[in-house]
Amino acid sequence: MPTDTAPAAEEISYVDAIHHALGDAMRADESVMLMGQDIAGHGGAFKITRGYLEEFGASRVRNTPIAESGTIGIASGAALLGLRPVIEMQFADFITCGFNQTVNVAAKMFFRTGHPVPLVIRFPAGGGVGAGAFHSQNNESWFTQVPGLKVVAPAFAGDAYRLLRAAIADPNPVMYFEHKFLYRREKAVVDRGAPTPTRIEGGSQVLREGEDVTIVSYGWMTHRALEAAERLAEEGISAEVIDLPVLVPLGMDGILESVRRTSRAIVVHEATITSGFGAELAARIAEEAMDSLDAPIRRICYPDSPPPFHKGLEARRIPSVEGIVEGARALAAW
C-alpha cells in the first residue's frame, strides 16, 4: 500500500527493510529509478520491488533484458546525467557478466574525469539456502579491491534500511550486499521516519562488549558471532562482538580500540578465506595493533571451494557457531 509519509517505527523483516528503503527513496527523490531483470510487474526474484511499477510507473521501474553489462552501462550513463539508478542483480553471482562496466567504467569515472556516478548495485548474496555454486557466493572482495567502489554488507534490518538510503544518496557507485539467508529471518524495529545518512561512511559497531577476545564480522556471520559470544559467556570467556556494516571505506578505529583492550582477534566471514576481506582486516590489525596482541589473529571463513548444492555439504563449509566458539577458546587459552 503506497504511503506518502513513513509510518511510525515498526518491526519489519530485512527483506522488507530493503523494499521500503527503495520505495521511500523514490518518494523522496524523483531522480531515483530502479532497473533489473523482472523487477517491474513480477517484483523481482525476491519480490523486493513489488508494487513499485504500479506506484511509480514504467519509466522509473524498468525491466532490463538479461544484459548485466548493458544495464550497468546504461545506469552509469544515466547517473552521469544526474539520475540515481538502483540496479538489482538478480543474484550477486551474475555480476560477472557486468564486471567491466562496474570496475572500469563506473568505479574509475570520478577519478578520471571528476564526474560522479551515483549508482547502487544490489547484490542478493550468500549461502545457507542450498542454491549451489551460482546462487550462493559471497563475492564482496572482488569489489573491495577496486578503488572507487563503496561496499556495504548489513547484518540487520535497521542497517539494511539506513545503508540503502545512504547508498542511494551517496554520489559514488555503491555495491550493496544483502544476505538472502537473512531476508525473512532477521527482523528489527525500524523507524522509517528518522533521518538517514546521505553518505556511506566507514565505521563499525560494538554489538556486545567483552574483555577476552574481539570477534569481527559482517552480514549473516555477525549473527553467528553473537550466538557464539553467548555460548562463550557460559564458559566464562567474555567476547566482544563487532559488526562491520561498511567494508569500504573501511573504518578501523573501533576494531583497533577493541583489539588493544582484548589482545585477541577473530575475523569471521562467509566468503572464502584466501584473499577474502578478512585477510585485509587481519593485516590491518597486525600492522596497527601487533604490540597489543597476545595470540595470532584467527580467520574463520569458508574454505577455498565453490559452494556445493547439497545443503548438508554446504552447512559444513559455512562458519558455524561451534567453529567460532572453538576458535575463541583456542585463542583464550593461548
Binding site: S69, L81, G148
Partner: protein
C-alpha cells in the same frame, strides 16, 4: 591543404584529385536528397566549420606525430584518413547532445567545444589537464563529452544511459558514440543496443568500419554482416561513405531526426580506412601486413582533399572565392593548433601533476578515500 611529407602517409604527400573519385564524390552530392538538405542546413558557415574541423583533426594528429618523433610522448592513436567520420558526425548534432568518442575520434572533443589544448594536455598528462594527469582518455561533461575507455564498445550502453536520461526528462537531445567494426562483436555493444532498442532511446551508434583492427583485415563475410546489423535489433540503419564528410553529416543528421521522433536508436555504418597503424608505433607493420591496394585505393579518397576539391569546384557553396578562403582558413587553423600545442607544452613546465593529489578523488563527496 598543405602536405607534410615527414608525417603524412605516402598516399597524401603528393595528393591530387583523382578524376574518377571526384566524379563519384560529386555524383553522390547531386543524387542524394539527404546531402542536399544537409547542404541547405549547413550553409556557407556550416561548410566552413566542417573544413576547419577536418583540418584541425588532421593537424592535431600531425602535432602528436611530431611529438612522438621528437620523443615528447611515446605513442599516439590517430584518426588519419578517418576524419570525416568524426567531424561530419559531430557537426550534425545540436546543443545539449552528448558524444562518447573512441580515442581515434579525438576531434569529437574539440569540435564539441572542449579547448584543443586539452587533448594535447591529456597526452602530456599535465596537472592542469581535465584529468589532472590521471588519464589520457579524457572528456568533459560541461561540453557534453564522455571520456573514452580502452575497452572499445563499452561506451555503447553508457551513452544509451544518457539517451535514456534525455528521454525520461522529455528533452529532445541525443547521445552518440562510435565503435569500430571489431568492437561491434563485443557482448556489451549487443547489450547496449538491445536495451536502447527496447526503450526507443535516442542513441546513435556510428559503426566506424575502418576495415582493419591492429594487424587484421576484416573478412568479406564480416563486411556484409555489418550491413544487416541494425536489422538484427529492429532499428533503423543508415549507411554512408565514411570518407565523404557531407555524406556522414547527412547520415547522422537523419539519424538524429529519427531519434528525436522516437524511432531510435539508429546504427550508422560509415565505411572508411585507417590510413596508418593502430597507433604511431606500428605504421610500418600495417603496411607490411595489409594489401598495398587498400592503401592506394583509400589514399585517393583523402576526406580533406576531396572536400576541398569539391568546394573549389562548387565555390558558390561558400559564397565564392574558394581558393582564397580555403588558404585563409588553413592558415588560421595551423596557427590555432600550433598555439594550442605550445600552451600545452608550457603546461608541462608550469603545471606538472601533483603526486599528492594523484591519491585523492577516488570518491566523490570527499569522504572515505
Amino acid at each position: 591543404m598543405k602536405r607534410y611529407p615527414a608525417y603524412d602517409p605516402i598516399e597524401y604527400q603528393d595528393w591530387s584529385p583523382d578524376p574518377e573519385v571526384m566524379r563519384s564524390y560529386r555524383g553522390l552530392v547531386a543524387e542524394s536528397e539527404g546531402i542536399q538538405r544537409s547542404l541547405e542546413r549547413l550553409g556557407p558557415a556550416g561548410l566552413e566549420r566542417l573544413q576547419r574541423g577536418l583540418l584541425r583533426n588532421r593537424l592535431h594528429d600531425i602535432a602528436l606525430k611530431r611529438w612522438v618523433r621528437t620523443g615528447v610522448i611515446t605513442k599516439a592513436w590517430l584518426g588519419c584518413g578517418e576524419e570525416a567520420a568524426t567531424v561530419g558526425a559531430v557537426h550534425a548534432l545540436a546543443d545539449g547532445d552528448v558524444v562518447g568518442p573512441m580515442i581515434r575520434n579525438a576531434a569529437a572533443t574539440f569540435e564539441r567545444g572542449v579547448p584543443l589544448e586539452e587533448s594535447f594536455r591529456a597526452y602530456l598528462a599535465t596537472g592542469d589537464s581535465v584529468t589532472k594527469g590521471r588519464d589520457l582518455h579524457f572528456g568533459d561533461l560541461a561540453h557534453g563529452v564522455v571520456a573514452p575507455i580502452s575497452h572499445v564498445g563499452d561506451l555503447v550502453p553508457v551513452l544509451a544511459g544518457f539517451a535514456l536520461a534525455f528521454q525520461l526528462r522529455g528533452e529532445s537531445n541525443v547521445a552518440i558514440t562510435w565503435t569500430g567494426e571489431g568492437a561491434t562483436r563485443t557482448g556489451t555493444v549487443h547489450e547496449g543496443l538491445s536495451l536502447a532498442a527496447a526503450r526507443r532511446a535516442p542513441l546513435i551508434v556510428v559503426v566506424q568500419d575502418n576495415s582493419v583492427a591492429l594487424g587484421t583485415v576484416r573478412s568479406d563475410r564480416f563486411r556484409s554482416a555489418l550491413e544487416g546489423m541494425a536489422g538484427g535489433y529492429g532499428v533503423p540503419g543508415i549507411e554512408c561513405d565514411g570518407n565523404h564528410v557531407l555524406d556522414v553529416h547527412r547520415a547522422v543528421r537523419e539519424a538524429r531526426e529519427l531519434c528525436v521522433a522516437g524511432e531510435g536508436p539508429v546504427v550508422v555504418l560509415a565505411r572508411t580506412f585507417r590510413l596508418g597503424g593502430h597507433a604511431t608505433h606500428d605504421e610500418a607493420e600495417a603496411r607490411r601486413l595489409f594489401d598495398a591496394e587498400l592503401f592506394a585505393e583509400w589514399g585517393k579518397r583523402d576526406p580533406i582533399g576531396c572536400f576541398e576539391e569539391f568546394l573549389k569546384e562548387e565555390p558558390h557553396r561558400i559564397g565564392g572565392g574558394a581558393e582564397e578562403k580555403l588558404a585563409r582558413w588553413e592558415e588560421e587553423v595551423i596557427a590555432e593548433v600550433e598555439a594550442a600545442a605550445e600552451r600545452s607544452l608550457a603546461s608541462r613546465q608550469t603545471a606538472p601533476p601533483d603526486p599528492e593529489a594523484m591519491l585523492g578523488d577516488v570518491f566523490a563527496g570527499g569522504s572515505g578515500s
